[in-house]
Symmetry: C2
Subunit: 122 residues, 2 copies
């Protein structure tokens, strides 16, 4: 049988150097788990057809919406509902796990230079 390896998110994070480069570490049904490091300010965007979960593994981040923002630290998670414009902001660096459907682009409907290649595993 296919014996899948377990995933240690902290070990995997050490292999991630560049910010804004999501790396897939697991799949479950039609969803994927991705690790990503955030540094500074991302672009405003929305994912019209997908809720997106953020789970903070290291550091702190702001999840900004047009009319308010949410601060997240280690062990905190937040689900951004589909269609809602958001961007992330960090003062230093923050490492998170994203859980979202396969094929969701990091820049959503905004596109642009920060759009990362899809489905890159680590």
């Amino acid at each position: 049988m296919n014996r899948r390896p377990k995933i240690n998110v902290f070990e995997k994070l050490r292999e991630l150097s560049k910010p804004w480069s999501p790396r897939v570490v697991g799949e479950m049904n039609d969803h994927q788990f991705k690790l990503v490091k955030l540094r500074g300010e991302f672009v405003w965007h929305a994912h019209p057809e997908a809720d997106e979960a953020f789970f903070v593994l290291d550091g702190e981040m702001e999840l900004e919406f047009r009319d308010h923002s949410v601060s997240l630290g280690i062990g905190e998670f937040y689900v951004v509902p589909r269609g809602l414009e958001h961007r992330t902001k960090t003062r230093t660096e923050c490492a998170i796990m994203l859980i979202e459907p396969k094929g969701v682009a990091n820049t959503g409907d905004a596109g642009g230079p920060l759009t990362a290649p899809d489905n890159v595993w680590i």
Copy 2:
């Protein structure tokens, strides 16, 4: 607009006392995030139509399959593929986050007295 609260999984865990009582803490698309404490040995079961992700937040657990087992500690996760028989075992207590489709029963196809009520939020 609907301002969802952020979820601190460690705070939520303090509200969980009984083992084997999954509590929903978030929803994302057709999936839910559930916190649960494991203590001792669960029942063999499978979820015929759903992959199930285990993410360890505190303690250690064994994820047993019929022909091997996987030890998981803090920060480690594992996706049990649909249809594969498994059970959890712990020496002391372990707190985990489960991510799986809504409506998946904790005892899967096995049923029995450890079957927990579905969709109870905390």
